[in-house]
Symmetry: D2
Subunit: 132 residues, 4 copies
């Protein structure tokens, strides 16, 4: 039982820029797909979390873009839970592509748990236990 | 007194694709800037409309992409109110660039007035009169 | 043998706006996924077309947004070739979601075949035959 | 003479998400506006750099999202050159909004100078001197 997941993503033309590679700002939507899939595989969806008055805004991120990601590439976003506590949660990501050694990019996102009014709150106990 | 406005927009690298031009899907954010500016110039902001429980989702659009729009171009979005009725509103757009004859693109968007629950509602009377 | 394809897409949080639905401008990336999948299923990828000096910029589009598309929805983009000629190509799209009757959105895109310098050119004969 | 610039940006509806705030992934396009404006004010445009066979892909970034940025906010991106060497360049950013104390977000981007084929190259001497 691991706190990891793998998300296949096909790179869209909309995600490229005129350098002929995927624009760096678009990677963050892929990381979002990664953590969404991880949560779903653990048994909770982010949609449900919102219905339970939990929001997980990104409060910090960092990313290294090591090798270009190209249009139509079928990439794999590997996601893992890096840390979880009462009101904080963080994920780490690697982007891989078959046939290329090592990650194309690495990143993390840190999230605060807040309610619908944006005030800090604790993660529900069942969510904490699913992610620990 | 006209129901027209003009919005200058500098094309971002993020908005280009690997064809070396602005991606067509990104134009719709520019049209949004156009109608937002028009409303603001008429004396009402879309932010205020939302606070008054009015939403104006796009229900239909059409666009012609006549000449490429390039990175770093300083384009002008010309917007005008095309039609307004109790619960409907539509805008027409042209994108121009100094030194190029004729529009680079033309488009329209049609909007329904709905409330925060997505149910049809009438436009406030003062808004109707500002746009008529 | 049909000129239709079906593309499953999970709606990303990045694609929503503060109305709580998917932003209309983001649908065009989904339509792009639809026609890309259709081409791939017919035996040609758009990536290959570019390597053969063929670009297919969108020259016109139209879309009707009939029902809201929501975050985390698993939608289906149904794509079909609407028309194909020497230097033109057009596609029609419908967005569906299990459990909802009728399409959530309908659209078309019209494309011109151009070369890497943006000049009109004919579609390669094998591509024409794959799409006819 | 400073290596700083200030870019006003109006937040677009397209840039919000259903949390009712600007999506974190969209900030990177604003940072791009910031460094583009800084370069332009120093006397060189990124468009010209590309014509001189210089590309500046982002190889690393980090960002802290301290306070929400809202739809229609008129934000200010403050950009400064953090470091410049033969083939590397980095920028730091702060996002501010009138009436709010302290930055809404802080970030950096690090860039490698590469040529059109993606191979490392030195920054042109005049560019180095403009940024030093």
């Amino acid at each position: 039982l691991t706190l990891r997941s793998s998300s296949p993503i096909r790179v869209r033309y909309a995600e490229t820029d005129q350098m002929g590679v995927a624009y760096h700002g678009g990677y963050f939507a892929w990381f979002e797909v990664g953590r969404t899939d991880l949560l779903r595989e653990r048994g909770v969806t982010y949609r449900e979390l919102e219905q339970r008055d939990v929001r997980l805004p990104v409060i910090e991120t960092g990313a290294r873009f090591l090798r270009p990601v190209l249009y139509d590439d079928l990439i794999e976003v590997r996601t893992r839970v890096a840390a979880v506590s009462g009101a904080r949660l963080s994920f780490e990501y690697e982007i891989h592509r078959d046939g290329t050694d090592g990650p194309l990019a690495t990143a993390f996102t840190a999230h605060a748990a807040v309610n619908g009014q944006g005030r800090p709150r604790r993660l529900p106990v069942d969510v904490l236990s699913l992610l620990s």
